[in-house]
Symmetry: C2
Subunit: 708 residues, 2 copies
């Protein structure tokens, strides 16, 4: 029955996951869940707005987000389309002359931190990429449903402990086109206003926007196992759950606008700039895609908590005039302002990201901060990148519900750290530069630059280090399973696994190891087997293979029958012998070299060796792994290092995975797999050999006759 039939009783459907809100956090979750639809997971994603974003809002992608996009398979498109940033320029009034002068330059991303550098591309395009990827991986099953507003949410507490139950009932209201794209929110000539989405609008005002009309209302009821509220700073989900945001809404006002900047004389308009004027405010310049430039303007305006600035005063003209005052005597003209907005800044955080591990909050719904550090969209997407695979695992029966507890544990700390950083950073940015007479009150320029530089590490998304928990086997006593970090001394348990180049043994083609570890829900066991050309090392690998191929191994135990043995725990071997010292068939089958599986066989064994065309990756060196001892590194589906141990320590592998995985009803042991081995030359006819220097040809069967 279609919703258009408008029945008197709302229709009711069941779904595994309902995502409320199709912003960056929501569509990232959708894209992750898309990868579980082949295993039967069902998911819907709704958004009250009918119009997709076509400019404005967030635009900064940090290194970690780009790494995630790599793992999702489309980072090349993002890098191509976006504006890659390299340098930050600092402009300040010269204490001697008062002139606005460039006082310093630093790299925008700390060199060596990641293979990717911070890139600017506006939120609408990011969402479009994630939506397209979700549709692709779900065969069109997961596509945002727009113009759908949640109206009520009920939780049946009695069902919470039953993983197969649908304890959450959400009433959805289908909005008309007019309601879902309220008046005044559409474009104003060529310049689009983002004010209606900004924090200058209160939750109540925003709500009214979408419920203007009295008319026949179409409703439906969705029963869900899990709900994720990705519905922004005014989160309806959060308010409905009665979860409070803690923290101050500060009294600052900032303006963002996006424009083409032809007529100005600041030479750094295509680099990120932090410009402090003496007394007219400050501006951050962000060079965007399509030759656009965004200016973040900080005004010395005070707004009391609960008050909202008169939005009518925020116009493209007033923003331009303000920017000109800050940049004076440098001029600023533009043919086009594509978009503008204004907003208050607050650093606020919810007590919890979930009341019950059934309904979750993610992104701005549970933490807000300033956009200056460029962390809002990144942290939001990283929230659901952390959460969605956990829900996916539980819904498809691979993992225990306890896995879900790690979401709030891990991400709330990240949000708290971010908010602390942002508070400090924002204060520095909004402070007036210290003048000669005024050193106490002002912000010293060197302090500003220092915070900016150290903040870079944080802002790149690289400082995240999850504490020990069910899925993070830290060596520091915070988890029951302990890693042996000395075996891979440059990797850190709880931090993201970084990439190094390795060479595929089957094809001799070099690639970054992470391009082999695309996000598909699998844990990876990276077997750094060392110098397997030596018998001792090969024996160790063979012993590990014997375990892996046995019925009690983590691969056999947790892989459901009928699924690929790489689908839950994917074993990848990287050896360090000479590439030509061994043939692929010298490696143990099938766990190390699964000759039976055409889709994985040639993507299992790699070597840390020089390549023909791309130099030498020196992966063992990069990870701090000894070529004599080797190491096992377990990487989570979201690329965080979970466990480091030795090749013979299969007991720790057993213990680690048993904490959160569910043994498959009928596991997938290796014993019935057809194996191949090279020809047995002793059985090839000798007579023929001496006659024609060739082995005897097989007699083709009549129906399989060769063309000759």
């Amino acid at each position: 029955m279609s919703i258009d039939d408008a029945p008197s009783q709302p229709i009711e459907t069941k779904i595994d996951v309902l995502i409320i809100g199709a912003g960056p956090a929501g569509v990232m979750a959708a894209d992750m869940f898309a990868r579980y639809t082949a295993q039967g997971l069902t998911c819907r994603i709704i958004d009250k707005r009918s119009a997709k974003l076509d400019n404005g809002q967030a635009d900064g992608l940090n290194c970690r987000t780009l790494e995630i996009f790599e793992s999702l398979g489309f980072v090349e498109s993002i890098e191509k389309e976006g504006s890659r940033m390299s340098e930050i320029n600092f402009w300040n009034p010269c204490p001697e002359t008062g002139r606005l002068v460039r006082t310093g330059k630093i790299p925008d991303t700390i060199p060596g931190l990641s293979r990717f550098q911070q890139t600017i591309l506006h939120q609408g395009r990011i969402e479009a990429h994630l939506i397209a990827d979700a549709a692709k991986h779900s065969n069109g099953a997961i596509i945002p449903e727009r113009g759908v507003l949640p109206e009520a949410l009920e939780i049946d507490e009695s069902l919470l402990s039953d993983p197969s139950a649908y304890p959450i009932k959400v009433t959805l209201r289908h909005l008309s086109e007019e309601e879902s794209n309220p008046d005044g929110l559409t474009q104003n000539g060529a310049t689009r206003s983002g004010l209606f989405r900004s924090s200058l609008v209160s939750a109540e005002e925003e709500e009214k926007l979408y419920k203007k009309k009295e008319q026949a209302v179409k409703r439906e009821i969705v029963s869900a196992k899990y709900v994720i509220g990705c519905d922004g700073a005014h989160s309806w989900t959060r308010r409905t759950l009665g979860i409070k945001m803690i923290g101050e809404q500060t009294s600052e006002l900032r303006l963002g606008s996006t424009r083409r900047c032809p007529h100005h004389q600041l030479p750094d308009i295509r680099a990120r700039c932090a410009i402090h004027s003496a007394n007219a405010g400050s501006v951050m310049v962000i060079p965007q895609e399509r030759d656009l430039v965004r200016l973040y303007i900080q005004l010395p305006v005070q707004v009391k908590p609960g008050e909202y600035l008169d939005r009518s005063k925020v116009t493209p003209e007033s923003i331009l005039a303000t920017a000109r005052a800050i940049l004076h005597p440098y001029t600023l003209d533009t043919e086009l302002i594509e978009w503008f907005t204004g907003y208050h800044i607050g650093q606020r955080l919810t007590e919890s990201f979930t009341p019950n591990n059934r309904v979750f909050l993610a992104g701005d719904a549970c933490h807000t901060h300033s956009p200056k550090a460029g962390q809002g969209m990144n942290t939001s997407m990283q929230d659901t990148f952390n959460l969605a695979w956990k829900i996916g695992h539980v819904v498809t029966g691979l993992a225990k519900p306890e896995l879900l507890e790690t979401y709030s544990l891990e991400r709330q700390v990240v949000a708290k750290t971010l908010i602390d950083f942002d508070t400090k950073f924002s204060k520095l940015f909004s402070g007036k530069p210290a003048s000669k007479d005024d050193l106490d009150e002002g912000v010293s320029l060197s302090e500003f630059k220092d915070v900016f530089a150290t903040g870079n590490l944080f802002a790149a998304g690289m400082s995240i280090s999850y504490a020990g928990n069910l899925i993070v086997a830290r060596p520091d006593g915070t988890s029951s399973i302990k890693s042996r970090p000395e075996l891979a001394s440059k990797l850190a348990v709880g931090e993201r696994f970084f990439s190094a180049q390795v060479v595929n043994v089957a094809s001799a083609t070099p690639d970054q190891l992470t391009t082999r570890m695309l996000t598909n829900g699998a844990f990876r066991i990276l077997v750094f087997a060392g110098n397997v050309a030596e018998e001792k090392a090969m024996k160790k690998l063979e012993k590990l293979a014997e375990y892996l191929d046995g019925e009690e191994s983590v691969v056999s135990k947790y892989t459901p029958k009928g699924r690929s043995r790489s689908s839950v725990i994917d074993v990848i071997t990287i050896h360090s012998s000479d590439r030509l010292a061994l043939e692929l068939y010298d490696f143990p089958q099938p766990s190390i070299f699964p000759s039976n599986d055409p889709h994985t066989a040639y993507k299992k064994v790699y070597v840390d060796a020089p390549s023909y065309h791309r130099g030498d990756g020196k992966a063992y060196e990069a990870y701090g792994i000894s070529k004599e001892e080797g190491a096992i590194v377990v990487v989570r589906p979201d690329q965080y290092v979970a466990l480091i141990t030795s090749l013979d320590d299969t007991a720790t592998l057993d213990a680690y995975f048993s904490q959160f995985l569910v043994p498959a009803a009928q596991g997938s042991p290796a014993k019935d797999i057809r194996l191949l081995s090279p020809p047995d030359w002793s059985k090839v006819e000798k007579v023929e050999l001496s006659h024609s220097f060739a082995v005897k040809e097989r007699e083709p069967a009549e129906e399989n006759a060769a063309v000759v």
Copy 2:
């Protein structure tokens, strides 16, 4: 009037260019013409087949083609989707034991030749990328029209010398779905046959396939200025023009098939392999995308000229049986053969690629060769990449029709060289390996490997060097304008311009220089200005700028009024001083730094310097250019080096471009362009400075009031 109205008189339309055939050559031409549609060029592309290719046919992309795809903007997608090749493995019978053994390995692409390595992706996907790009750049105007068959072509000789005339009349027949997708050509279970497209079908047989039905026929007549026949080895265009193919159709038969290869024991199935059996034929293994493997099988079968092998004998089963005989005792099993075909090999070439510089032939229509060297699709696309910009320039009034003569001059030599190479290469490949007793007749393995290795340079598309002509100012006396090659000693006039990394001065972002030189029809003047921090070098650059900004410069003379001054001749400066030694505003405006143009201003000045994140490109060193003397390098729209001269030699620039460009009716002089300069600090109020360490703010006008 729509064609569906089926009038008794065919409708007649006029068009600048008609492309016959939507294979690789045709869609490449379409994609190039798409870039001229904004200047009014009209183009249609037709193909008799209604079904797009979904597998099979050609699949090898050489380095040069990948560079072209980079210049078209989508090489990342191709590299991602395709199978990047690294190594070639040679397998031969051991003379001692007769066993099939690996006798050698060489890199598949000579290291250092290009930033790209040979990549395998089947023709259908390549065509899809080019079609999508053509639609994008033409705003949907150029999309292949399928099921359209050319029936007659008439040339009005009296109109040939009038560039504005439409001397060619082509009658088009619109086929029904049934006709354009003939019976038996569709898929046979899961395995698709490519036989109907192969050289096992004669031109007459093929023609019949598309004209089976008697029914009401819909026709139209197209009058065109130019026609390109990209209609393959059986080219209707070529036959209609009465142009003969010269050369032998050899008597070999080869089979191609594409399959997943799970069960075999050859360890090199994911690398390119050349496998010679002692007496069962030879096979070349090509690892494709999606874990597919293609086998090219060479059979010792003789077919007389004019005869065609019985196609019914070519079946997936017979191919598999043959492959097994060659590979024995290595086994070969497969779950799926996606596609197969069989073909004769001939090396043939037309006398001319055009009878009149109005109708042109390109690709297989004018040269055929074996697919073993992987050159068919590459050379075909490179043909029209060479031709289309020339037609585009003439049609849009930028260039004289004489420019078109360079197409046949340049490409026929390439085809001839290719055919000579292919003849040698094919013979080697089909020869039996030399055995101990039989050294005279057989092919020595080391000879085979040597030809393979040297052939690699050729096969990469890198050995093409156009002789001197109207647009190639070689220093060797073959052109009237002479280059000074010593100024850029590692570049070669007539060869393709290779890339080096440079750093953008405005953003500090490093990039390959070729990513700044995307294909848009513009010639590039690369100004290697040297150490411009020194006065002498800056004076030289300023003198050049004075010329460029003058009314008589090549930029002013040939750029039509109203178009960007970078659109016809795009000046890009690469200096070699310290990046921080100069500000952007230190460079001459507008020719070197066009501060007035927001779309080009920050993409004009680069520096050969270290970058934060991607090392040091050392471009001057790579090109062999002195930092003291500098050089001007003119690069053609298709990336070939056209001219090398000194910074002060503007006379040669004048002479070079005057050979083939048409002065614009009203050129686009620089004198009325608004220029910007940094603030004049002497005019900033001193009083304010001393008071607040800031310059005085401008009073915002009432209607432009700042928010403060």
